[in-house]
Subunit: 122 residues, 2 copies
Amino acid sequence: MAERISDSEYAVMEQLWRAAPLTANQVAEAIGSERSWSVQTVKTLLARLVAKGALATQADGRRFLYSPLIEREAHRAGESQRLVDRLFGGRISPLVAQFADAETLSDTDIAELKALIERLEK
Amino acid sequence: MAERISDSEYAVMEQLWRAAPLTANQVAEAIGSERSWSVQTVKTLLARLVAKGALATQADGRRFLYSPLIEREAHRAGESQRLVDRLFGGRISPLVAQFADAETLSDTDIAELKALIERLEK
DNA sequence: CTTGACAGACTACAGATGTAGTCGTTACGT
DNA sequence: ACGTAACGACTACATCTGTAGTCTGTCAAG
């Protein structure tokens, strides 16, 4: 079942979505450039993700190779839906309108959205 | 600084954005219809929100009237931005595309988005 | 004046989260 | 064969969150 994934855990998942399977050390190394976590911290997060059913382990000698069990897309979809439900009554246009009001939309964003909508209208 | 507001706390804020100022009991009563929380729980959440600087109190005899100190819009904007940054590299069209792929967009949603984009293009 | 209802303050406590240390084992280099 | 580095398992601990109980003071009704 879709247990929630915390922020820190998500950073670990990201590496494994980028490339898998990886050893704990490889994950730690990949993350090292972004966050300054000790290897132990990464290992704890990996263990928690395994416990949550988000990662699969595969023995490789006496260590593990980790790979994602949940899809990145599925996670994004769940989290996005959750936000939209909580904050915008489940409707998406107020969400987009919010970004419009905050003026955080670039011309590129607008063009992309336009293309997307046109595609959807068909 | 904008301390984060948890899910439960958000439910309390919602009532106060709907109508303020309110007493603790009024908030509890208003929420009671949606969640079955004890009055104590609501009071704890109110106190935490005050501690976080999200609510202001105003004495009314021997009790307090609570009112929001942060804007609903500002909170929505912050949370939305946070999600988009974390999950979609800060770009919004992939977020919308995600909903499109998940087929959770109604015709109404699409029409609204279209109108919104047209307005933005000017 | 007494009592009881109610208000806020303080306390409780389990589970999640962020961040890491320690322990016991094992494989590899020498 | 032996030490040592590295690995996973277990432990740690402060903070946040969800959910509520208890304590103490006070206002209002009788």
